[in-house]
């Protein structure tokens, strides 16, 4: 288990609203002392005394769920210089990773870049055991000592693997071969088969420059490890918690897949948007493209803007006086850089074998000292609570763009504003506490501090990061799928696959879960062997199932022919129930980030908002300001 960290002990377990609502800690009865603490919290904002009560009761999972006042708008500031030695969030995150690996922390530290009491305690422990003055502050001497100790850690023990080998090490080699560009990609299944043999041989020739032997020996491992970090299991924290170290692979693209034929620009002008960021962007581009006389950049689409637009369109695209997709494409080619822009991104995603889609409307503005990203929401139904607007910056305002070549920095601030119009997103606010989605949020959501930032992520074009196919997981996260459980249960993969298909024939989610989760199957390499075995099964025709009138009524199911793609087959063949969801979960991949499945996937290395979630804005900064920008924690 990992220990999420924040300024107050007992930070809540987080989950996105449209992630599963299972795996919550077993409910407990609240002892009287806890009631007193709650009562004091209820009176007002937590007092030091009330927090003291909580400190004494640390570890009580009920108290861990006590909500604290919302973070102030503007989000998490950098750690105070006096507390964290002036370190940036990225430096603190790096420190957290190293302290965990050095087992100075009690449990693995969540790499959130926030210098909280768990990190401070780990610093104290490290200082105390390394002859340093115990201050709890990561001063220069401490950081140097941490770096030195980390560098001295033993490298992972590598085992030679060859054709026929199975297990974790094979999976790690598969990850690294993929990261090195193996074509076709290898399934991370922990089986050294002929496909992997081909990849190894190619790697030996191209990367190791030796006559191929078809084995991953010490020489090949050394090359693979030199080329790609991660790909092993390390004990983290004094708790010796085994944590699989992520293997980077390619460049992450956390955005939903843009629907072919759609433009990222909203139609602007007559029949479209006539004011706001889209018009600012249009005016700036027209000016760059040579509008004469130059337009006033006022964000209002008037006759002068229309005339300049028509002049630009003349000879390039149909002269309509409205900036449609073709016009925007021409403008982008002529004038890629602006300081303001509006995006209307139509995208889809495949999650759990089903396809979902959304059009996300958002805008951005590069100001003198910061970049502001805004998603405007047209709330319908009930009024949104004020706290929701603070949840967005609290989770998202943790990064800045950095141009390493010049040292320039640009904080990226996210905000959710209220408003209507063609550049807004419609969200219905409902009573109760149901499962939120990108268009329906619930007033009674006790986890709104995480739900709203997750849904906000959708409003800026980010897709879900749970129940993904392997290729989607790699694309979205920029990591190879974890090897996870390579050994599996005693049941052969083919038997489990047959059991899954039999469950589909029986139209029983309970049976599907029994054949997988119930058999001891866990996410990872062995589960992917099941996926592969399932793909080999002959298709079966599933007859329609009539409904059972009940009560309670049990819904009918339409006829269906299996395809061999297990996630979509489960989605189509079985009723939408929890056993089906659990079955899909074990056969797919999920991240632990803000866009992932935080209630099921605990990953101290991939937690909360991540730099990949800001990549689109780094590209924009590069276009507008020049240079190559990357997102780093503040």
């Amino acid at each position: 288990m990992t220990a999420p960290e924040g300024p107050i002990p007992g930070q809540r377990i987080v989950k996105p609203a449209d992630a599963p609502d299972t795996n919550v800690p077993g409910p407990l009865r609240l002892p009287a002392a806890g009631n007193a603490a709650i009562a004091r919290l209820l009176q007002s904002a937590p007092s030091p005394a009330a927090l003291g009560d909580l400190m004494q009761l640390a570890g009580n999972s009920l108290l861990a769920r006590i909500a604290l006042p919302s973070a102030p708008a503007g989000g998490a500031p950098p750690a105070p210089a006096g507390l964290a030695g002036g370190a940036t969030g990225s430096e603190i995150a790096d420190l957290q990773m190293k302290l965990s690996r050095l087992q100075a922390s009690a449990a693995p530290l969540t790499e959130d870049g926030k210098f909280g009491p768990l990190t401070e305690a780990a610093v104290r422990t490290f200082q105390g055991s390394n002859g340093l003055e115990v201050t709890g502050q990561p001063d220069a001497a401490t950081r140097t000592a941490v770096d030195t100790a980390f560098a001295a850690l033993s490298p992972p023990v590598r085992v030679q693997v060859a054709l026929g080998s199975t297990g974790l090490d094979v999976g790690f080699a598969q990850q690294k071969l993929n990261a090195a560009g193996a074509t076709p990609r290898l399934a991370i299944n922990g089986v050294f088969d002929n496909t992997m043999l081909g990849a190894v041989i190619a790697y030996e020739i191209v990367a190791v420059h030796r006559f191929p032997q078809g084995i991953v020996d010490a020489t090949v491992w050394a090359a693979l490890d030199a080329g790609t970090q991660g790909g092993f299991v390390a004990d983290e924290g004094a708790s010796n918690t085994p944590i699989e170290q992520l293997t980077p692979s390619g460049t992450a693209n956390a955005l939903g897949v843009q629907v072919a034929g759609t433009s990222l620009h909203p139609v602007t002008g007559v029949g479209g948007l006539t004011s706001g960021p889209a018009v600012h962007e249009l005016q700036q581009k027209l000016n760059t493209a040579g509008a004469t006389p130059p337009l006033k950049d006022d964000g209002s689409f008037g006759p002068k803007t229309r005339a300049a637009l028509q002049a630009f369109q003349n000879g390039k695209v149909p002269v309509t006086g409205t900036a449609d997709a073709a016009t925007w494409a021409a403008l982008d080619a002529a004038a890629p850089a602006t300081t303001t822009g509006s995006i209307s991104r139509t995208w889809d995603e495949v999650v759990g074998g089903a396809t979902y889609g959304l059009t996300s409307n958002y805008s951005w503005e590069i100001q003198k000292t910061r970049m502001v990203v805004t998603a405007k929401v047209n709330f319908v139904g009930l009024a949104p609570p004020a706290a929701w607007f603070g949840h967005v910056p609290a989770k998202w305002n943790q990064f800045q763009g950095v141009d390493p070549a010049t040292g320039r920095t640009m904080p990226i601030d996210f905000q959710m504003t209220r408003g209507g119009g063609g550049d807004s997103n419609t969200v219905e606010v409902k009573r109760g506490n149901d499962r939120a989605n990108a268009g329906e949020w619930y007033l009674g959501d006790t986890d709104a501090a995480n739900t709203i930032p997750h849904e906000y992520g959708h409003l800026i074009g980010l897709q879900d990061e749970y129940q993904l196919h392997p290729a989607d997981y790699v694309r979205v996260t920029g990591h190879e799928p974890p090897v996870g459980d390579a050994g599996g249960p005693a049941t052969p993969p083919a038997t489990i696959a047959t059991g899954i298909q039999a469950a589909m024939v029986a139209r029983s989610g309970v049976a599907a879960k029994a054949a997988t989760v119930g058999a001891g199957l866990k996410p990872g390499a062995y589960a992917q062997r099941v996926v592969a075995e399932y793909a080999l099964l002959a298709p079966v025709n599933l007859a329609a199932v009539a409904e059972v009138p009940g009560p309670p009524k049990i819904t009918g199911l339409p006829a269906f022919t299996t395809t061999g793609e297990v996630l979509s087959d489960l989605d189509n063949a079985l009723r939408d129930d929890l056993p089906r969801y659990d079955t899909i979960q074990v056969l797919s991949y999920s991240s632990g980030s803000i866009m992932g499945d935080q209630s099921r996937v605990k990953d101290p290395h991939d937690h909360g908002a991540q730099p990949r979630h800001l990549a689109q804005f780094m590209t924009i900064l590069g276009q507008a300001l020049g240079g190559t920008w990357e997102a780093r924690r503040r």
Partner: protein, 222 residues
């Protein structure tokens, strides 16, 4: 039949499995698994004016519209008309989709064999039978959770507990069961407590997990 509508979502616990069917004669019946107005079986007759409105909306549909993609995380929403057969309305906000969702809410005004939860005193969550017919409950283990709000949905605490209940039993008209709460929410008019009680309804040999909710309205500030 005028329409049949189902909302399902297996990614939450208990799973969402709401259904409503509206007959030509105005009979409305269906099942609720997660609801602030009771869970279980509901059946009754819709007033003529309301019936006519829904009938007109459904009657205007000749073919199923092109399916639109559901929003990320959305529940499965399936509408079934005689003229079209079942089709997805996830993400749709057209008149019939809105009416179908409204019928799921309206359904709870016609309890046949249902259970709701009330909050008669700060220390008690009370399960109550609603309707005219009995139903079998599995109350072996009852999970109770509370959310405390200050003002307009400003989080002020949560509480949860598992209570060993009386086991499997039949609940009929007049039946109630008090469940103890251990939350010291102050008697402040600015404080509102919401409750959720998870248990199961038995039918035949199967158990259906349900969640009865108590969610008094909170007035939005001016």
């Amino acid at each position: 039949m005028i329409l049949r509508f189902e909302i399902t979502n297996g990614s939450r616990s208990p799973a969402l499995a709401e259904s409503v069917e509206l007959g030509d004669d105005g009979t409305i019946s269906g099942w609720r698994t997660v609801s602030p107005a009771g869970v279980g079986w509901f059946a009754g007759r819709l007033p003529e004016a309301e019936l006519a409105e829904v009938r007109a909306l459904a009657g205007a549909v000749r073919t199923a519209p092109a399916p639109s993609l559901a929003r990320p995380g959305a529940s499965t929403e399936t509408l079934d008309l005689d003229a079209t057969g079942p089709y997805s309305i996830a993400g749709s906000r057209d008149g019939l989709a809105v009416a179908a969702r409204w019928l799921v809410q309206r359904l709870t005004d016609f309890p046949r064999a249902a259970v709701t939860v009330t909050h008669p005193s700060p220390e008690v969550a009370r399960l109550e039978h609603r309707g005219t017919e009995p139903l079998r409950l599995d109350l072996t283990s009852v999970a109770v959770s509370a959310a405390v709000w200050r003002g307009y949905y400003e989080p002020a605490g949560t509480w949860s507990g598992v209570i060993g209940g009386p086991g499997e039993m039949e609940a009929g008209p007049g039946w109630t069961l008090d469940l103890p709460l251990e939350i010291d929410a102050p008697a402040d008019p600015g404080i509102t407590v919401h409750l959720a009680v998870d248990f199961a309804i038995r039918h035949g040999g199967s158990s259906m997990p349900v969640e009865a909710r108590y969610e008094p309205d909170i007035e939005a500030p001016e």
